[in-house]
């Protein structure tokens, strides 16, 4: 019997050339639409609401009133800020999944300033001090795993992960220390009368300063990553440590410095969360956003401006889902579920941008 070799039905190969941006974004767009359709089906099967109305209600939840719009903007800025912080670490292929902890440490530093200094300093001096201290606290928290990685090549993924939980316990400690009223096991709003350490209203809006700080950080990070010597070093270490060593870069130094920057920006996110949003601290101050932001940074290929789009999309979904959940008296975890589905689709779509799939065709069999 003659054995015939058949061409496989599906063949996968790397694309010869990089797709033009419009095609790449087209593929991502298709994935996004696909995921939104699936989300609509799921919401429909739970609450039996017309899918178009679902997205109407979600839009209403995210932008329905001036206040809701600003909350959406505030949350987008928060997520963006963490994404910006993670970008240099991930570009260096340093798996910093410890943003949660770095945010919390920054938040603790801010809250400590608010609790202990209260009105001892004018707000104009207090806010910059809080900014610096939270950046420092977050930076140190990021530096610890980086130091071990640089010295002994300790696995950073798990180290940073464990640092999250240590930070959560440190936060619980301070929550118990500062609890107000006693026995409530929560800190409550800090300085409700004096508003010391609160972001001031600018142009009549509470969250203007959040936007200014984060957008400034976004531009600065873009310039740092793309146009500075240190940014170039980060890129080289990320692509190949051996190349970096050959080019006489000190890899340990780059790792430690980058994680200091990364942790510091995440610490600033903690400052934004405490001082610019909730005016309190709890173990849910980071609220899982340290993990979501990893995906934001990764999908945006570390470009801060693309991150704005992705964070806005995720926050829109989050706010919208919370609105639907409260209308139907369901709990708002539904938003994480929908976020997950959308991220699965976008993650999967990257494959079709980088690879092409060829089916077996009957025409070219002659050989």
């Amino acid at each position: 019997m003659r054995k015939t070799h058949k061409e496989p039905f599906i063949r996968i190969s790397k694309r010869g050339e990089i797709l033009p941006p419009w095609k790449a974004w087209g593929i991502r767009g298709i994935a996004l639409v696909g995921s939104l359709v699936l989300c609509a089906i799921i919401i429909y099967s739970i609450v039996e609401l017309n899918p178009l109305k679902v997205y109407g209600a979600m839009f209403n939840g995210a932008f329905g009133t001036n206040k809701r719009g600003w909350v959406t903007i505030r949350d987008t800025m928060m997520l963006l800020c963490i994404g910006i912080g993670l970008a240099p670490a991930f570009k260096m292929r340093f798996w910093n999944i410890g943003a949660e902890g770095q945010i919390l440490m920054g938040g603790i530093a801010s809250a400590a300033c608010m609790v202990y200094l209260d009105s001892a300093l004018p707000n104009l001096a207090l806010l910059p001090l809080m900014f610096i201290l939270s950046a420092l606290a977050g930076g140190i928290w990021g530096f610890i795993p980086a130091w071990f990685k640089a010295k002994w090549n300790t696995n950073e993924t798990l180290f940073t992960l464990m640092m999250n939980y240590i930070a959560i316990q440190v936060t619980s400690y301070f929550v118990a220390l500062w609890e107000n009223p006693p026995g409530s096991n929560s800190v409550g709003v800090i300085n409700p009368q004096t508003k010391a350490g609160w972001f001031p209203e600018i142009f009549g809006e509470m969250y203007t300063l959040n936007v200014i700080i984060v957008l400034a950080l976004a531009v600065a990070m873009f310039v740092y990553l793309n146009y500075s010597k240190q940014g170039y070093e980060i890129a080289v270490v990320g692509e190949s440590e051996n190349t970096a060593r050959y080019a006489a870069m000190s890899v340990p130094k780059v790792i430690m410095r980058t994680m200091l920057v990364s942790g510091a920006v995440c610490g600033i996110a903690g400052f934004l969360a405490v001082s610019g949003a909730s005016h309190t601290i709890s173990i849910s101050t980071a609220g899982g956003r340290g993990f979501t932001a990893i995906i934001v940074a990764w999908l945006a290929k570390f470009n801060p401006f693309v991150m704005i789009l992705i964070s806005a999309l995720l926050v829109f979904l989050d706010r919208g889902a919370i609105e639907i959940a409260s209308q139907y008296n369901l709990n708002d975890y539904v938003s994480s579920m929908l976020t997950g589905i959308i991220l699965f689709f976008i993650l999967g779509s990257e494959f079709f941008i980088n690879y092409q799939v060829k089916f077996r065709s009957n025409k070219e069999v002659q050989a």
Binding site: M163, Y333, L338, F344, Y355
Partner: protein, 327 residues
């Protein structure tokens, strides 16, 4: 003495949850897949097991305990495998980044589980919280003579069957990985997929199977948490998630050996509860004590990287995608 016994009991309950998670994850990581979706998979196992028996108990006024257990375990195992399948599809076939995919799985499954855990009763038209009393009792049942035994053997035999199953599963996984040709092939895939491929091993098949089966085992940890620790109700305080991350940590602690994972799991369980039994702690210092398991993991992590023993290293291709045409 009674305090010590209750500490051990609490420690072993948490340890069992962690052990399931870690055993599954070791199997997965041996194939070179670093699945950070373990907490999510444990969530899936917990909620789907709970939902399966919830509907069974709701529609049957007189549920049979054996059937309850079977339904819960198969629902949990299959749902967790499905979680592993999503992860495999994205990382193996579509070559998405493993860490990012794993975290996404945790976000998705955490949302899914807590959403249905909190809303299922309302969606099913009832009031209050889910409660599957019969099933939970079946999961917590001990041998009939155990309550009459003296303290020490009662402590050792006083758990539901899943606590012992976890140890058996760990031994079986250890045996498969180290003593069978399938295990040898699996380790080859995790160490160097290109070489394994050249030797005629179907890398994709091994990765898929190890990841899905590993996920199924991990998911049982979530089921055990729900049926034993929270007694057949849903707790949305995120207990499963933090134990899930401890399971990921235990994989490192055990240096990818399921047998070493057994005592490691109980140690982690004990450390998680230690704060409760140390006299004279204020609420504040308790919070600091709760850090212990994480601190210990960090120390072990650093110590392992300092010693650099070859047999303690992770699978060489851990976390790296494999694509035949890319070399």
């Amino acid at each position: 003495m009674t305090e010590l016994i209750s500490l051990f009991q609490a420690g072993i309950v948490f340890g069992t949850v962690i052990l399931y998670g870690a055993t599954g994850e070791i199997l997965t990581e041996k194939s070179g897949n670093l699945n950070l979706g373990v907490p999510g998979i444990m969530y899936l196992g917990g909620i789907m097991g709970l939902m399966g028996v919830f509907f069974y108990e709701m529609n049957n006024p007189d549920p049979s305990p054996i059937l309850c257990v079977l339904i819960a375990m198969s629902c949990a195992f299959l749902a967790s495998m499905l979680g592993g399948l999503i992860y495999s599809l994205l990382t193996i076939t579509l070559r998405a980044n493993q860490n990012v995919t794993g975290l996404t799985l945790t976000i998705f499954a955490g949302g899914f589980a807590n959403f249905f855990g909190g809303s299922l009763m309302k969606l099913a038209g009832g009031v209050g919280q889910i409660n599957v009393a019969t099933t939970s009792a079946a999961f917590r049942a001990t041998l009939p003579f155990v309550p009459n035994l003296p303290a020490l053997p009662r402590m050792l035999l006083g758990f539901g069957f899943m606590a012992y199953l976890a140890v058996v599963v760990a031994f079986v996984v250890s045996w498969v990985i180290n003593r069978t040709s399938v295990g040898l092939n699996l380790r080859a895939v995790g160490e160097n997929p290109a070489t394994a491929d050249a030797a005629g091993i179907n890398v994709t098949k091994y990765k898929y199977l190890a990841t899905c089966l590993g996920a199924g085992i991990s998911g049982l940890g979530g089921l055990y948490y729900v049926m034993d620790y929270t007694k057949g109700t849903w707790d949305s305080a995120g207990g499963i998630e933090s134990l899930g991350w401890l399971a990921v940590a235990l994989v490192i602690f055990s240096t990818w050996r399921p047998k070493r994972g057994i005592w490691g799991a109980y140690l982690f369980g004990l450390l998680s509860w230690l704060y409760f039994y140390i006299p004279g702690l204020t609420r504040r210092s308790m919070e600091l004590f709760k850090m212990l398991p994480y601190l210990v993991t960090v120390i072990v992590l650093v110590a392992a990287s300092l010693r650099r023993r070859r047999e303690d290293q992770p699978p060489a291709a851990l976390g790296l995608p494999y694509f035949r045409e890319e070399r």
